[in-house]
């Protein structure tokens, strides 16, 4: 087991690195300088709240949004415009439209995913919820409204299924992606319900299912049976998407609408099941995944108790095991879909948080791993921001 990094001597400066860690029991911020050697912890924020996502607005470098609820109170969104020194609750959190008389309406159980809008649309944010809903804010997260017809569209509602069809803690809408070239070009994914694309700013969406496997015995042409776990767009090639799915790892090169199962090149004993998907900030051929045990009853642990990141440098033609510094055996944690990310430094820093509350990083693109923190609650999401003024 690697020793923990010194957490007492983080430096100030423009090269600062800020980790935003969302957990089942609150949120923590970890600050470092450009060396990424020393980390200063700040928190907890919202102790006892379930924080599914904590995201910094890259357009202003100041605004943080936190998707929060407790085990007993309704969901909300908190926002800070001073990097977490103070928080204000959203005036109107994501909520479905009231149901017409005589019909049973849905209610948001929790906001699961937050995506800042296009660089040319300051103040715009998107949120994905459980059960599946798509919401938008135009005022920096203060007020939210249902976005696009999908929340109440009968066809989409059928594809979304019910709570019974969803993941153990509720079916989710996630992986909301805004094309950096075109604010009207959007993607989102639903577990379950498949990946969907809009070219008209969300007025209409089309399913993007070609080439994706589904569980044996189900109809692959029906979005109901698709379970994308995480979808990412390559910053340097927005025509390329990667997807970690319930049934494998995929790559899609537009304008094609057929995904290629690049996970078939993974070692058979590890498989290509997992949740997170991380893309390199400058190399569209480089991505990382964190495989988990998806056999038999789906233990959702590291395969054989031996956690490892796998990375590819050739778009998924081949994969390398990256486990130096990680526990060699008897480590039964895994990494959730929002809990792994990459910074934009050179070499790229990789970060992940575990279901057992450990925070790990690699400063050399996965070759060597070091533990930043242990004993946190179950980690739901890890995001990173670089060069945030006043962050450290």
């Amino acid at each position: 087991m690697a020793s923990e990094i010194d957490t007492g001597a983080a430096q100030r400066g423009p090269g600062s690195v800020l980790l935003l860690v969302a957990t089942r029991k609150g949120a923590w911020l970890y600050h470092s300088d450009a060396t990424r050697q020393h980390w200063r912890v700040e928190g907890p924020h919202f102790l006892g709240h379930i924080i599914n996502h904590l995201v910094l607005d890259p357009r202003d470098g100041r605004t943080l949004l936190a998707a929060a609820k407790t085990g007993h109170l309704g969901p909300t969104v908190f926002r800070s415009t001073d990097l977490g020194r103070s928080w204000q609750e959203a005036a109107r959190p994501p909520a479905f439209a009231p149901a017409p008389e005589g019909q049973v309406g849905r209610s948001v159980d929790h906001t699961f995913w937050l995506t800042p809008g296009h660089a040319d649309q300051p103040g715009v944010w998107y949120a994905g919820t459980s059960p599946q809903g798509l919401f938008r804010s135009e005022d920096g997260g203060v007020s939210w409204a249902p976005f696009s017809p999908i929340n109440d569209d009968p066809q989409y509602r059928k594809w979304m299924g019910t709570v019974q069809d969803g993941t153990p803690d509720g079916p989710k809408l996630h992986s909301i992606i805004v094309d950096p070239r075109d604010a009207d070009h959007l993607y989102f994914a639903m577990s379950g319900g498949g990946v969907h694309e809009s070219g008209d700013g969300g007025r209409s969406f089309q399913a993007l299912l070609g080439g994706i496997d589904v569980v044996e015995g189900f109809d692959g042409s029906d979005p109901t049976f698709h379970d994308p776990h995480c979808v990412r767009l390559c910053p340097t090639n927005p025509d390329r998407l990667y997807q970690q799915n319930h049934c494998g790892i995929y790559r899609l090169d537009r304008p094609s609408d057929t995904w290629q199962r690049i996970g078939r090149a993974m070692p058979a004993e590890v498989g290509d099941i997992g949740f997170p998907m991380v893309v390199h900030p400058r190399d569209a051929n480089a991505v990382w995944v964190f495989p988990m045990d998806g056999t038999s009853v789906w233990p959702r642990t590291s395969p054989d108790g031996k956690p490892a990141v796998y990375g590819t440098r050739d778009g998924g033609e081949s994969w390398q095991r990256l486990d130096a510094g990680l526990p060699a055996e008897q480590a039964w944690w895994t990494v959730k879909r929002q809990a792994m990310t990459a910074d934009s430094a050179d070499p790229v820093g990789l970060y992940f948080g575990t279901t057992s509350g450990e925070l790990w990083m690699s400063g050399d693109e996965g070759r060597q791993w070091t533990r930043i923190a242990a004993h946190l609650p179950e980690i739901y999401a890890v995001e990173v921001a670089m060069g945030v003024e006043g962050a450290s």
């Binding site: 109170l73 909300t76 009231p98």
Partner: protein, 85 residues
Amino acid sequence: MKVLIPSALRSYTEQAYAEAGGDTLAAVLAELDRSYPGIRFRMIDEQNRIRPHIRFFVDGEQVFDLARRLDGVQELVIVQALSGG
């Protein structure tokens, strides 16, 4: 009337008791929300359903109907039942 606020919601009121009036439970909760914005949505969902684990007692009687009239009621107690881990 006096409204006893459960500990999980005192981040809104910063005190155990609040004052709110209204003819019905819904009206009292609406006034409470005007005084403490956001507090109602933590208890009542967007379909006007009382959230799980939230209970309302008026002068000692549990009430499940937001339209329930509160004529002459002295105290509303909001209970947030704790369970789970």
